[in-house]
């Protein structure tokens, strides 16, 4: 079957990309004094909000509204929302099983939501997960049971994280889009690496690590689990043999530097979409680029609010798509 064309949507994205923040604008934002940064964003069409979180949420909602205007079936981009849905599941299980209700923990995807946070919360309250999407059901039951029986929130979280990665990989495999496939693979592989590094630092047994690593193409979960069970250095040695070898030195410096490297790698992978005109790829790339921008702006504004020095902020800033 011929791949669906998104000519109108891609053309709108091409024009809209001009309003994305480039590296120069990010530098201005870092150097801005007092409220100049927020004012600069408002001049670029961002809404005026009280808090940084509200500002980011409003801009994200604006982005999805735009995507909704140019694509008829938004389910193509469900893969980008899986992280939020599974995060909500983790939070809901903790709130219900741990008996502590917290405000502003659940992420609402708004109109584009596959499943609302309230519905996930209700499922956890009733202990009945049959109304959840298929790729969440089993993980929800398992994590819920583990939390209730052992109170091990870490294992419960990791089981849900693994299910999220498996759902993302499955969506990537099912997709015709190169961007979505690359995104799924990269998210899964880098998450596995982060999990392996954490497990190695905490000296977790191989049986535990096997249980929490998801399978992907660029990293062998079994070999990674064995390496993580041995030591952090063994994980680095294993990574040297994979396509993530160049991240080893970065990961040794700090975990946040490695996270930044992962985000920058994704941006590099989606960059060729700037020159495609017909497929869903450039629209998917725009969503990822906007998410990267929101993440970076959030980091900068929060760091400035907490009076963190500019050079420290620059260490956390991601490379921009445009």
């Amino acid at each position: 079957m011929a791949e669906q064309e998104y000519i109108y949507g891609v053309a709108r994205v091409r024009a809209k990309e001009m309003s994305l923040l480039n590296n120069q604008a990010i530098e201005q934002l870092i150097s801005a004094q007092n409220d100049d940064g927020v004012r600069m964003l408002e001049e670029r069409g961002w809404e005026s909000k009280e808090t940084v979180e509200e500002l980011i949420a409003a801009e994200r909602a604006r982005m999805w509204k735009f995507i909704g205007e140019i694509v008829d079936d938004l389910s193509v981009f469900d893969v980008f929302l899986y992280k939020n849905d599974f995060h909500n599941l983790k939070a809901a299980i903790k709130m219900i099983c741990g008996g502590v209700r917290r405000e502003h923990v659940l992420i609402d995807n708004g109109a584009i939501s596959r499943i609302s946070p309230e519905k996930i919360l209700k499922c956890c309250e009733e202990g009945d997960f049959s109304s959840l999407p298929e790729n969440m059901r089993d993980a929800a039951r398992k994590a819920y049971t583990v939390y209730l029986e052992t109170s091990d929130s870490q294992l419960s979280d990791m089981l849900i994280d693994k299910a999220a990665l498996e759902a993302i990989v499955a969506a990537g495999d099912a997709s015709n889009s190169e961007v979505i496939r690359d995104y799924a693979e990269l998210v899964c592989a880098t998450s596995d690496i982060k999990t392996a590094l954490r497990c190695a630092a905490l000296k977790k047994p191989v049986s535990f690590i096997r249980e929490v690593l998801a399978r992907c193409k660029t990293v062998n979960a079994e070999n990674l689990a064995k390496a993580a069970a041995a030591s952090v250095d063994a994980v680095y040695q294993y990574l040297e043999k994979t396509e993530y070898g160049q991240a080893v030195d970065i990961a040794k410096t700090s975990f946040s530097a490695f996270e930044r490297w992962c985000d920058d790698l994704l941006t590099e992978k989606i960059r060729p979409q700037k020159y495609r005109s017909f497929t869903v790829g450039p629209i998917a790339a725009y969503i990822l680029a906007k998410e990267n921008e929101l993440k970076t702006v959030r980091v900068i504004l929060l760091c400035k609010k907490n009076q963190i020095p500019e050079e420290k902020i620059r260490e956390r800033v991601r490379v921009m798509y445009v």
Partner: protein, 160 residues
Amino acid sequence: MENLGIAFALLGAAFAAFMAGIGSAIGVGKSGEAAAGVLTEEPSLFSKVLILQLLPGTQGIYGLLIAFVCMSQIGVLGGDPNLSLAKGLLYFAACLPIGAVGLYSAISQGKASVASIGLLARRPDQFGKAMIIPVMVETYAILALLISILAISGIGGLAV
């Protein structure tokens, strides 16, 4: 059987108009989608985008021109419509280049126009370069037009 000459000649004229017209309709349609997308965000680019949208439309005009010249030569628009089968087939063959090349080049030019409209959305000051890229495809439609015209003009003088 004695009327097959004019039938083939008219079939050739119809082929030229039909195929090149379909190509242009697809090409202009695709570039129109891209044009609408860019204009939603940047209405000030209307005149530049319109030119890029219309570029794949020329093949349809070439097809129409060849069909018109062919019909005029074979006497459908007035004159003697009696043609030998050989001449009818020759007219049919003469119409093939613009029909086939017109169809394919218009669709390809439409795709190039879509890409150029995207370029214009990002760099409105690069209109000249954005236009030259799809215009390159036009070369082959013009070559096909030239061959079809030369062939149709020459057939009348042949003693077949």
